[in-house]
Amino acid sequence: MRSRKEFIVAKFEFLSTIRKKSFILTTLMLPLFFAIPVLLTASLPGLIGGEGQNIGFIDETGMLEQATGYIKYPTSEEAKAALLRGDIKSFFILPKDYLSTGKITVYSLSSSPITERIDSIDSFIVQNLLRYAKVGTDVSNRITNPPARETVTLDEKGNIKQGSGDLARLVLPYALAIGLLLSIMMSSNFLMQGIGEEKESRTGELLLSSISADQLLRGKIIGYGAIGLLQVLVWGLMAGAALSMSQYAFILSALQISWIIPLAVTYFFLGYSLFSVSIACAAAISPTAKEAQQTSSIFTMAAALPLVFSQFIILSPNSEIAKALTFFPYTAPVITMMRASLVDIPAVEIAASIGIMMISIILVMSLAGKIFRMGMLMQGKRATIREVIASIREK
């Protein structure tokens, strides 16, 4: 019966939040907000009408042949006139001493020629040089298409390590670390909003007359945790769909189940439990949503700390600092995922890190109910340290 009440609270918070316009907009519009510039960039050459057809050139070396999309002009004056008429978007001059200097001059009406147009000119010149030098097709293809690398790691005995070439091993930990951070940020934001509204409407007193503060807190954590997971899931699916339609679709097929996935899931739930309880208490003892945001930023900053040190951690994943952050409960989830993508973390370190996190959660939870209860009953003022300590000491 008692645990059922937590799920009643969780269900109510979940359904109330996912129906909010702000949630629907954030969930669906944020990926589009990021996708639009990417899609625009990807389709830019198409949008501006096929750059290859609009590039002129003056060849003083005799090495270039007119090709589809490239118009040869005998003089720079004629090319300039064509540019001003709008027949071409740009033109370039390949000077007589090109082979010794490697320099060309590109003329355009825009002060910053588009990267794709420059890449296209470079590619056109390289292909013509290869043809001029009579390089065979196979070699020519390898020059224009760089090698696809596969990395194999050997152990001390010279055997190939299992999963050493698995892209999932590299990509997944980072993806989960960022997913965890995103989930914490989004869930804590909704949690703070929810608690802020509850304090404003003074529903806390009525709720606490029906259920205990611990149950209420657990219900909210489950509800808002589910909201955060739903949001990350939607974003993950949208990113997956976008990847599957792009040239990077091979990344998805490379994602395989490995030991790192259950580890990531464990840290995900432990991390979320610790952060959400801490943030809920910060929100409860703050009089306004703005102050709640400021107070809880301590925890979100701690979660993001490993990303701040990422350069150092990539260079020294087994350094003392990296190990210390693995044992600090508020940085452990993200740092462990980052280190796991770079080195094999000893099992004893992982076990100690998980153990410390579990003890921390039990400790924080045992104090949180009392702090949360005191905060929910307090109106219009921030709880002082003395009041927080007094609430913890209460029977």
């Binding site: 009643i8 509204e197 007359s209």
Partner: protein
Amino acid sequence: MNIDYTLNVSGLVKRFDNKTVLDNVSFGVKGGEIFGLLGPNGAGKTTMIRTILDILKPDAGDITVLDGKFREEVKEKIGYLPEEGGLYRKTRVFECIRYFAELKGVAGIDSEIGGWLKKMNLYEYGNKNVSDLSKGMSRKLQFIIAVIHKPEILILDEPFYGLDPVNKLQIEGVIQELKNSGMTIIMSTHQMDEVEKMCDRILLINKGRSVLYGDLGEIKGMYGFSIYLDYSGKLPRIDGVSRINDHGNQAELMLEKGADTREILRRLADAVDVRKFEIKTRSLTEIFIEEVGK
């Protein structure tokens, strides 16, 4: 402990920091009665209610509810109407009631919810957001939330707050119906006329201490009588009258115990033009002012 009491509070002490908010308060509430919890602002009434509801833990003393120590399951047998707030403004009226009912351990009671909405003239607002309701309608919605799970004990904190006379009369009637059905009701209010009309027994607390406790009729009897006077002229000093509330054309004369009312009437008739002379028991408002002002 008196086993006749549905709610028994014994030697209750509650402190915040070094301030004692409730100081050794004891009282009992009998089953099926309306019990008035009275006191000036800051007397400790809200702390008392929160402690009874187990929202706050006492520093000393015992609370026995429904023949036992407070247990989490007991919360489902208590209904509570807080003085202010307590509603999710962006939630639909029907869903708001259903949520609180589920937290009290009852589900699948949509027909009961509909019945209460009809009874309180709120049925057409069932699918609207709580924010669409007026202050009076919101108060009636809170009342429904307090009683929807058919509690054995109902705690009402200022139940008539924000209600117009028509709605006030409606809530009065519903409270009487609930009392007649056997529900035990604790009512905290500043509206002394309502307490006089509805309560069987009262507890008056001031500065965290119990000042008056017992049967309302007996308490009023202890305070003797008053004379309500409609007059013109200048009131004289009269033996047997302890205090006079003089409003110009009307006055209340508080009588000492054993005062001779015939003699007082004679003295008044000699000194002023008496249009109306009525002997009544002291009003609760007067008793409240006298005790709190001590």
